[in-house]
C-alpha cells in the first residue's frame, strides 16, 4: 500500500502545485521520485510530529494541500491535540496518512500498533476517516482526500497486501464498495482485513452460505444507505476491522443502529481487537490469531451466529 501511496502522491504533486508532502522521517527511498520531481515540496519534518501537524495546518491556511505521513500511532495518538486544534478546529484540508495501521507492524510491538486511532479521530468534528482495503483503494482514497475541502485521515497498510480490486475504484467519501454479492450474511470489512474477509466468504460458500462482502472504506461518514440495506436485507451483519471494538467502525455501526427508529432484521456481530495490549512477540498472523481475526476463527464465529438456536 505504501508503494501505491508514494506513486499516487508523486502523480498528484506533479499535477497540482499546491500538494506538499510532509514525512515524519520515514519512507527511506520510498519518495525518491517525488523528491526528484518536486524537491521544494517534499519536507522531512524529522521525528517531530507535533510540529509537523502544525506546519501542515499553516501550509493549508496558506492555500497549499499538505499530506502528512508517518507510522500510524505517531501521526494520530501522539499528536491528537494538534490534529484536533490545528487541523480540525481550523477546518483546513490537511490529509493525514498513517502507515502500517492496525496490526500492520505487529512484530514491532504495541508502540507501533494502532487499534485506537479511528476511535480518536472519528470523534473529532469535521474529520473524515478512510480505511482503504488495498493498493488500488489507497490510490482512490488519496484522490478523494485531495479533492475534499476539509481534513481527511487515511489509515493504510504497509506493503505486499493482496489486491482486492483489479483496477482503481472511484472512492466517494461516505460510500462503501461491494466486493462480492451475497444473500445470507453481510460482511462489512474495513481496511487491510478485506482479503481475510473475502477468504471467509469463500469458506462460507463452501458451506452453502452466500456472503455479501463490502469494503467499508468510509468509516466516517458512514455509508448509511448501505447500512440500512444491510440490516434490512440480511439476518446477520458482521463488522470486521483491525481496530479495537471500542470506538472503531463496529462501534460506529452499533451507535448508528442504536439510534435507528426501526432496527431492521439484521443482528450485528462485531470483530475487532480486544481491550488489551499484546505482550508477546509475533507477526501479523499471530497478532490476528490472538484477537480472533483469522479466517478460521471468523468463519467459525459466523457459522455459530447463523446456526439456529439449540
Amino acid at each position: 500500500m505504501r508503494n501505491a501511496f508514494a506513486d499516487e502522491i508523486t502523480r498528484a504533486a506533479a499535477a497540482d502545485p499546491r500538494v506538499v508532502m510532509l514525512s515524519g522521517d520515514i519512507g527511506n527511498k520510498l519518495f525518491d521520485r517525488f523528491k526528484d520531481a518536486c524537491p521544494d515540496r517534499f519536507v522531512n519534518c524529522g521525528v517531530a510530529e507535533a510540529n509537523m501537524i502544525g506546519v501542515a495546518s499553516g501550509l493549508a491556511l496558506s492555500g497549499m494541500r499538505p499530506v502528512a505521513y508517518t507510522i500510524t500511532p505517531f501521526i494520530t495518538t501522539r499528536v491528537l491535540e494538534q490534529i484536533r486544534l490545528d487541523v480540525c478546529y481550523h477546518d483546513v484540508p490537511v490529509v493525514i496518512v498513517g502507515v502500517g495501521s492496525g496490526l500492520g507492524y505487529a512484530s514491532l510491538g504495541p508502540t507501533h500498533h494502532s487499534c485506537e486511532d479511528m476511535a480518536f479521530l472519528r470523534a473529532l468534528p469535521g474529520m473524515t476517516v478512510l480505511a482503504p482495503a488495498d493498493a488500488a483503494e489507497v490510490r482512490g482514497c488519496l484522490r478523494a482526500a485531495l479533492a475534499h475541502p476539509g481534513p481527511v485521515y487515511m489509515r493504510i497498510g504497509k506493503k505486499g497486501e493482496p489486491a482486492v480490486h483489479t483496477e482503481v475504484p472511484a472512492i466517494t467519501i461516505g460510500r462503501s464498495l461491494v466486493l462480492r454479492e451475497g444473500t445470507d450474511v453481510c460482511l462489512l470489512g474495513v481496511g487491510t482485513l478485506l482479503p481475510e474477509v473475502l477468504a471467509v466468504a469463500e469458506r462460507l460458500a463452501g458451506r452453502g452460505i452466500s456472503a455479501c462482502v463490502v469494503s467499508a472504506v468510509s468509516v466516517k461518514p458512514l455509508d448509511e444507505d448501505r447500512l440500512r440495506d444491510a440490516f434490512d436485507r440480511f439476518p446477520l451483519v458482521a463488522t470486521i476491522e483491525e481496530h479495537s471494538l471500542i470506538g472503531g467502525f463496529g462501534a460506529a455501526v452499533a451507535e448508528w443502529l442504536a439510534d435507528r427508529p426501526a432496527p431492521g432484521r439484521g443482528r450485528l456481530l462485531r470483530f475487532g481487537t480486544q481491550d488489551h495490549f499484546i505482550h508477546e512477540a509475533g507477526e501479523v498472523e499471530h497478532a490476528r490469531h490472538l484477537n480472533g481475526l483469522t479466517v478460521d476463527a471468523m468463519t467459525d464465529r459466523i457459522l455459530g451466529a447463523l446456526a439456529p438456536a439449540a
Binding site: 506538499v20 521544494d40 515540496r41 519536507v43 519534518c45 524529522g46 517531530a48 507535533a50 510540529n51 509537523m52 501537524i53 502544525g54 506546519v55 501542515a56 495546518s57 499553516g58 501550509l59 493549508a60 491556511l61 496558506s62 492555500g63 497549499m64 499538505p66 491535540e81 494538534q82 486544534l85 490545528d86 478546529y89 481550523h90 477546518d91
Partner: protein
C-alpha cells in the same frame, strides 16, 4: 507585493500613546467581561503595538491579502491585547470589540479561527502557534512570496515540547522569514517561570537551536521595532527576540504581581489604572 511597508508610521511618542490606549482597553475588557489573563495581556502590549503600528505589512481593508505579513498570537490567553489592537487598527468595528465574551459574540476568551479579520490562527492551547506559523512561512517560500511570519510566545509556553520541535525545524529549513518574540515576563500561571522549568538562559537556548537570537527591553517600542523590521535580517537564520517584560506592565499595582494572571479588576481599579495610564 503591493502592501505598503507601513504607511505613516507613528513616532515614538505616538506609539507610546497607542500602547497606553490599548492597555486601558484591555483593563476595561477584563473588568467588563470578567475574564482573566490581564497581566499577560499587559506585558505584551508594547510588542503588539510595535508589530501592528510599525512593522507588519498589512492592510486592514485587505485582511486576506496573500502577501500580508502574518502575526500569530501563540500565547492566545492574551487575546484582549490582540483584539484591542486589531480593532484600533481598523480590522473590525468597535462594536465587535465591545461585545467581547458576551453570549453569541465573535470574540471569545481565546481567538477562534477566522473569528474576525486579522486573526491568523486559533490559539489558546500553548505550543501551537509557532508550528502553524512555520507552515505559513514554508508556504511563502514555496509560493515565492516575500511576506514574513511573526509569532508571539509566552515564556511559560516555552515549557511545551512542540515549541522546541518547531525551534529545530525553522533553521533546518532556513526559514529566515520567521520571527519569534518571547514575552519573557518571568511568570507563568502559578509560579516563576525559571523555577517551574529550567528556562534560562533563554536567549542562549534559541541561539543554540540555530536562531539569530537577541535580547531586548520588551517595553522599549523603538528597540522592538528595530529588531522586528529587519526580518529577514541577512543572517540566513530565523530571528528570535527575547523580550524582557514586566507582567502587568503599565499599572503600578499589577506590575510583577502574578495574582493578576487570574484576578479581575474592580471598577475602582479600572479607574486607577486608567489614571496611571494618563487616560482619564
Amino acid at each position: 507585493m503591493d502592501i505598503a511597508a507601513v504607511a505613516d508610521r507613528p513616532d515614538t511618542a505616538e506609539l507610546k500613546a497607542i500602547a497606553a490606549r490599548l492597555r486601558g482597553r484591555v483593563v476595561e475588557m477584563s473588568h467588563m467581561a470578567g475574564t482573566p489573563h490581564l497581566g499577560s495581556a499587559l506585558s505584551c502590549i508594547d510588542i503588539v503595538t510595535a508589530a501592528y503600528w510599525a512593522v507588519l505589512r498589512i492592510d486592514p481593508q485587505r485582511a486576506d491579502d496573500p502577501d500580508r505579513d502574518r502575526f500569530i498570537l501563540s500565547k492566545g490567553h492574551a487575546a484582549t491585547a490582540l483584539y484591542a489592537a486589531l480593532a484600533e487598527r481598523g480590522f473590525f468595528p468597535r462594536a465587535i470589540l465591545d461585545a467581547y465574551n458576551t453570549d453569541g459574540a465573535a470574540l471569545a476568551e481565546h481567538p477562534g479561527p477566522n473569528c474576525v479579520p486579522g486573526v491568523e490562527a486559533a490559539t489558546g492551547s500553548l505550543g501551537h502557534g509557532l508550528p502553524i506559523g512555520l507552515g505559513m512561512a514554508l508556504a511563502a517560500r514555496i509560493q515565492g512570496r516575500a511576506h514574513r511570519v511573526f509569532a508571539l510566545l509566552s515564556d511559560g509556553e516555552c515549557n511545551e515540547g512542540s515549541v522546541w520541535e518547531a525551534a529545530m525545524f525553522a533553521p533546518a529549513r532556513t526559514l529566515d522569514n520567521v520571527c519569534v518574540i518571547v514575552d519573557y515576563n518571568k511568570w507563568q500561571a502559578t509560579g516563576r517561570s525559571n523555577e517551574t522549568l529550567a528556562l534560562a538562559p533563554l536567549r542562549d537556548k534559541w541561539a543554540a537551536f540555530g536562531w539569530d537570537a537577541h535580547e531586548v527591553d520588551g517595553h522599549d517600542v523603538d528597540a522592538l521595532v528595530r529588531l522586528m523590521e529587519r526580518v529577514p535580517n541577512g543572517s540566513g537564520k530565523p530571528v528570535a527576540i527575547i523580550a524582557h517584560t514586566v507582567k502587568g506592565k503599565g499599572v503600578s499595582f499589577m506590575e510583577d504581581d502574578n495574582n493578576w494572571h487570574y484576578r479581575i479588576p474592580k471598577a475602582d481599579e479600572v479607574e486607577r489604572a486608567k489614571k496611571e495610564l494618563g487616560l482619564s
